[in-house]
């Protein structure tokens, strides 16, 4: 579903290596948790996956489409939620969702079904007619999430998706992620909440200073590191 080969990216004229020779493969049906301390390269990696940043070297394939040479095909298969929900504040929630449905080519019936479903699920139905500027951070996060999922993408790429969500919405999102992957799709998400990663993810990757320092299922990580919890593994690997 997502294949990353030898991905590298540096800033400040090559002085700071944000991502350094990253290789990973997310399989269909898999929830992949991407962990790392602040500034480790998580968001940079995610931005390269969705095409917001250009890698210095390496390749990214989404469902076998190269995300640079076949960018439109790759983009159609991704639903992306950034860590900061900067959206068109002067559009209403519904206008934004319609816009996203239009650009992803979602037909009338499907969009109606999904918009009603997501808005109801996230408790946004009453706010859908108001401009996004009037929304709280969590509401913005939910509208961006809905916009990202409206075309039912194969791969969800979520950067810190739980930040700003109330416990109920976070719970619903986790359920959605599971259901989505059970249908053979995949989720790639970054998080700082280790409990979420521990309980939700099929596999976990830990990145530190741009390098992937561990990858595998929770059991595999535990065995390799002789530690009992993900927190201990994380702390040991990122020290």
């Amino acid at each position: 579903m997502l294949q990353i080969d030898n991905l590298s990216k540096s800033y400040s004229k090559g002085n700071v290596k944000a991502v350094d020779g990253l290789n990973l493969h997310v399989k269909p049906g898999e929830i992949f948790g991407f962990l790392g301390p602040n500034g480790a390269g998580k968001t940079t990696t995610i931005k390269m996956i969705v095409g917001l940043l250009n890698p210095d070297s390496g390749n990214i394939r989404i469902n076998s489409f190269d995300n640079r040479s076949q960018s439109l095909d790759a983009k159609r298969r991704i639903g992306y939620v950034p860590d900061n929900p900067d959206v068109y504040e002067k559009l209403t929630g519904l206008e934004y969702l319609n816009f996203m449905a239009d650009v992803y080519g979602v037909d009338k019936n499907e969009r109606r079904e999904r918009i009603v479903y997501f808005l109801d699920m996230f408790g946004l139905t009453d706010a859908a007619g108001s401009i996004i500027k009037s929304y709280s951070h969590g509401m913005k996060q939910k509208i961006v999430l809905t916009g990202a999922l409206i075309h039912n993408p194969d791969l969800w790429v979520l950067d810190e998706p739980m930040v700003g969500l109330d416990p109920k919405s976070a719970h619903l999102l986790k359920e959605l992620m599971r259901k989505h992957c059970d249908k053979g799709s995949a989720v790639f998400f970054s998080t700082h909440v280790l409990e979420v990663a521990e309980r939700l993810c099929d596999r976990i990757g830990i990145i530190n200073k741009g390098k992937l320092v561990a990858i595998g299922t929770l059991d595999e990580l535990k065995k390799g590191d002789n530690a009992d919890t993900l927190e201990n593994i994380f702390l040991e690997l990122t020290e």
Binding site: V50, L72, D73, N84, V87, F99, D102, V103, V116
Partner: protein, 559 residues
């Protein structure tokens, strides 16, 4: 006091982006040319204005000097001009800084007294206003000081007066704004207020212009010389707003009288500032915090029932076009800079026509009606159409206006070519409004031939397209996406200026061709054909460049 100073330092840092510049110079090092270009452009712009203004001031001073009296009028005109300018524009800046700036939410939560926030914001605005006020006052200060061989005290008092000039008008603006906010909860409809005030501002500006034009027309006899005009100005306006006259007399009178005026000016300025801080401490937060959540009004929709009404499927191009439209119309500063030019030009034309004596309008109409003059009327109309269509920043900031939401344009599966096409169509629709208004005026007032009018409209559309393509290319090359306030996307975006320069250059080329052909007495239609060919020759490569560039830039701009 220490807290106040700290806040002033913080506000000035944020306002002028000092830390950002430092970071750029020391860490990023890749955008060094950008601030340098801004400084250079600003210096060139202000320098040119300053040069002409200084010549005007020197001319006036020289005239008064020859007369042997009234030299101080140049000081009075400068102080009065600066204070009026600050009084008027200060209201917008104060309103925006006191009540609509984003940092207020964060500042209010800190253990800082209201007067400290207010005072620091006030000083920051004052420093900002110096950029406009100082060029208005410095030439007069120097010309008068040097011309009159003034002593050390003149210069000392002069510097203090010049620095204190913004205090009174800005304090008055602040009182007005604080009172307004205390009793009317305008925060709820901030956008509407901004648009209304901007239009009021524009119409007040035009009204003053209109009033002076009428007065000049009607009372020519009373204004035999510039001396009398200026004396009238000081006498009438100065009586209603005396601080400028105090500052003038503080510098132009002698001995104790001068000292008295100086102390009066300084004391009133300081007193007003103190009263402002005191009032601010009492009522500032009440206005600021009232209706914080008022805008979170929800309009419940019945999606199950009226789903079809709210969820219509559009093509990606239409969706992108409507996104541009809605965001432009719903963001006051975008709307003002996008549509005001188109609306104001015909209004100004009509106002000027109204001011003129009736016989002169008849003369214009009969001139236009003469078949021998149709070529002049046609070309003049075409020039006005293209001018009206280019008096906006819609296309030259089309990418910049997306700001931090540009990530959406980067991740959606729509080719950059199509995305830029939506911006091009959007720009063209707005230009077309301008073209149409001029067309209607030509047909209705000048009775211009309805057979030829479509030809002019087609040529104007082609001209507008050339300008839009140039504007889009300019903005694509270097969009200003890093802004937090929409004002920055249009007001401090050099692309708007470059776009206007490009439009002027293009219109210059068209004018040279048209005028040369008229002088050669070539037939009217050959001139239109030549302009058509010119537009077509520019449009084809322009369009190819634009589409190629859009693909490259959308890919290379990193978020």
């Amino acid at each position: 006091m220490r807290m106040l100073l700290k806040l002033i330092r913080l506000n000035l840092n944020v306002n002028f982006g000092i830390s950002v510049l430092k970071y750029r110079f020391t860490k990023e090092k890749k955008k060094l040319w950008e601030p340098l270009l801004v400084i250079l452009s600003a210096a060139m712009g202000i320098g040119t204005l300053l040069f002409f203004f200084s010549i005007f001031m020197f001319g006036s001073f020289y005239m008064f000097r020859q007369n042997g009296q009234g030299e101080e009028i140049i000081l009075a005109v400068s102080f009065l001009g600066a204070q009026f300018f600050l009084l008027f524009f200060g209201i917008f800046h104060i309103l925006s800084a006191f009540y609509f700036s984003k940092d207020m939410n964060f500042l209010v939560a800190l253990p800082i007294k209201p007067y400290q926030i207010l005072g620091s914001k006030f000083i920051t605005i004052m420093v900002n206003e110096y950029l406009i006020a100082l060029p208005l006052m410095i030439p007069a200060l120097f010309i008068y000081g040097i011309g009159m061989n003034a002593g050390v005290f003149y210069w000392l008092k002069g510097i203090i007066c010049v620095l204190m000039v913004p205090v009174i008008p800005l304090a008055i603006s602040s009182f007005l704004v604080i009172l307004l906010m205390r009793f009317i909860n305008i925060k709820r409809s901030k956008d509407v207020i901004v648009v209304v005030m901007s239009f009021v501002g524009l119409f007040v500006g035009l009204g003053i212009n209109f009033y002076f034009q009428r007065m000049m027309n009607g009372e020519k006899a009373n204004f035999d010389s510039i001396i009398q005009a200026q004396q009238w100005l000081i006498g009438t306006i100065g009586r209603r707003f005396p601080p400028s006259i105090w500052a003038t007399y503080a510098l132009s009178k002698q001995g104790l009288e001068a000292l008295g005026y100086f102390l009066l000016f300084v004391a009133v300025s300081s007193l007003l500032f103190a009263v402002l801080l005191w009032t601010g401490n009492k009522v500032f937060y009440k206005g600021l915090l009232s209706g914080e959540d008022a805008s979170r009004k929800t309009k419940a929709l019945s999606l199950e029932k009226d789903g079809d009404k709210y969820m219509k499927a559009l093509s990606p191009l239409s969706a992108l076009f409507w996104r541009e439209w809605k965001l432009l119309l719903r963001t006051p500063v975008f709307m003002m800079n996008g549509l005001a030019g188109i609306i104001m030009m015909p209004v100004m034309a009509v106002m000027t026509a109204v001011v003129q004596e009736e016989s002169s309008i008849d003369k214009v109409v009969s001139f236009a009606g003469d078949p021998q003059n149709t070529v002049y009327v046609g070309l003049g109309g075409l020039a006005l159409m293209i001018l009206a269509s280019s008096m906006n920043i819609v296309s030259s900031t089309a990418v910049s206006r997306e700001g931090q939401t540009f990530w959406i344009s980067k991740v959606i599966p729509v080719s950059p070519r199509l995305q830029v096409m939506a911006k091009l169509i959007h720009g063209l629709v707005i230009s077309f409004i301008g073209i149409l208004i001029i067309g209607i005026i030509m047909a209705a007032v000048l009775k211009y031939s309805l057979v030829k009018l479509p030809i002019l409209i087609i040529l104007a559309i082609m001209g507008a397209l050339v300008i839009i393509i140039l504007d889009l290319i300019i903005d694509l090359i270097h969009p200003k996406l890093d802004w937090t306030n929409p004002h920055e996307a249009v007001k401090t975006n050099l692309n708007g200026l470059f776009g206007l320069i490009a439009a002027m250059l293009f219109m210059g080329v068209e004018s040279v061709i048209a005028v040369s052909m008229v002088l050669m007495k070539l037939p009217e239609f050959s001139i239109y054909s030549a302009l058509f060919m010119l537009d077509a020759v520019i449009l084809v490569p322009g369009f190819i460049t634009l589409t190629g560039l859009s693909a490259r830039r959308y890919k290379n701009i990193e978020m």
